[in-house]
Every structure is written in structure tokens, then in C-alpha cells.
């Protein structure tokens, strides 16, 4: 394990729109890479959740995209950029429960209007920019938080 202060890497992973079978692979890769660093587990957990939700939004809505992850010290930055339809009303899209996902996506248990909410909850900084007909970019920064004692117990289960 490297000391936290020197933990550093940057990587990018492609995401295919509509690729439900491969969905989650980018997030899995991010998790694997972050687990090799000496980052707090609660931080990695939040990054993984935020990355998964961003990846799924690309799969559900966009043509293609990529997620890039960079680590500097104990701060993790995730940027998910896609080429896709964009979001007509970002404020509306941020409301819990709001979704424009297809019936197919919804029947698989995606598109419940919780993705952006999960990203906002997990990230310490969250920015979203979208252009209709072009695409969407989500920018998240994660930093270590004081550990919730209950969560700590649950995380110790394995």
C-alpha cells in the first residue's frame, strides 16, 4: 500500500449507450483500481455508487460516453461525459423520482429517478451541465467523511 499522500492516478473508461449487458463494468474497474490505493473504504464506496449511477445514465440515455477518474491525495474526481440527447430541464431531472428512461430500462429496475439523487448524496461536490442534442457532463468530487459508526459496523461484515 502506498501512503495516502502519494496516491495518484487518472484513468478513463468508455461506456456504450444501450449496452445493458456490459453496464457496470466501468464502475467495477474503478472500484478495483481504487481498492488498490490506501483510501478510506467509505470514500471508495461513495465513489463507486456515484460512478455506477453516472455510468448507468449513459447506458440508459446516451449513444456513448466515458467516465474518467482521477485521484490526488485522498480526493477523488469523477467526470462522466456523454454524447446523447442532453437534458431538457436539469432542475426537473434533479428532482427525486423524475425519469425519462425507456420502458425497457424501467422493467430492468433502472430509471427510477434515483440516480442523480444518489450521485448528489454520495459526492461532496456535484455539478451537471447539459446541452440538448449534444450530451451531458456530470462532475463529482469526493473527499473522506467522518465515518458513520453504523456503516462502519456493516462494512466490517466481510
Amino acid at each position: 500500500m502506498e501512503p495516502t499522500s502519494t496516491d495518484r492516478f487518472a484513468d478513463r473508461y468508455p461506456i456504450l449507450g444501450g449496452g445493458f449487458f456490459l453496464a457496470g463494468r466501468a464502475s467495477g474497474e474503478v472500484k478495483r483500481r481504487l481498492s488498490e490505493l490506501s483510501l478510506p473504504r467509505e470514500l471508495v464506496r461513495r465513489v463507486v455508487i456515484g460512478t455506477y449511477e453516472a455510468e448507468m445514465n449513459v447506458v440508459i440515455h446516451a449513444v456513448s460516453g466515458e467516465v474518467s477518474v482521477s485521484v490526488e491525495g485522498d480526493e477523488v474526481r469523477v467526470v462522466a461525459q456523454d454524447r446523447g440527447p442532453g437534458i431538457a430541464d436539469v432542475e426537473e431531472a434533479l428532482k427525486p423520482g423524475f425519469s425519462t428512461a425507456s420502458e425497457k430500462a424501467q422493467s430492468l429496475g433502472f430509471g427510477a429517478g434515483m440516480g442523480l439523487t444518489n450521485m448528489q448524496r454520495c459526492a461532496d461536490e456535484f455539478r451537471i451541465a447539459s446541452e440538448l442534442g449534444r450530451g451531458t457532463c456530470v462532475n463529482m468530487t469526493f473527499r473522506p467523511r467522518p465515518v458513520d459508526s453504523k456503516e462502519e459496523q456493516q462494512d466490517d461484515g466481510d
Binding site: F20, G24, G28, I49, G109, A112, M114
Partner: protein, 111 residues
Amino acid sequence: MTVTEVAEALGLEIVTGRQNLDRSITGGCVSDLLSYVMGNAAAGHLWITIQVHPNIVGVAELLDLAGIVVAHGQDIETPTVEKAREHGIPVLTSQETAFALAGRLYALGVT
């Protein structure tokens, strides 16, 4: 309680992931919405669902869940079983409903 003990107590059929059944279950989650599980389940939880597609394995893996219980006798898609085998994620099945399974699990002390 371990996954094995729960499987025995509830009469669950073990589909795959036998090598990881000794893990302690720290809680549970019942949902068919993947983002709900992502936002609310934690490492070591047992997840009860009627979703059967491969993405459930991805969620379980990302969250370090103890296992997935597919309820109400839903046929699990073959790629799901293959993916779970590859990642060593326990997948179990039951003919009982998610409601009944959650109730019995809770009664066993998994809260």
C-alpha cells in the same frame, strides 16, 4: 448468521457462489429498483429481489453484498448465473415471495 445458515433455515436453493457462503450477513435489502439498492444496501447485506438479469450481479459486486436471493421462483437468466459464478457472488432462489422471505429473515434476527 452466515449465508449458509440462512439458506438452510429458509430452504433456499443455492444456484452459485458456494465458495462464499460462510460470510456473515449484516442486514438486508428488498427492492427491484437497482438505484434504491445502490443507495441503501451496504456491504454484507443480503438482497432479495425478483430481478433476474446480469446487472443484479454487478450491483452485488460493487456493494460487496453477501448474496442475492431471487424470490418467487423467478427463472434466473443464464448470463446472470455465469456472471455470478465468475465473480463468486452467492445467488440463491426460493419459491416464496419477497415479502415472506424478508419476514422470515427478520424473524431469524437479520435486521
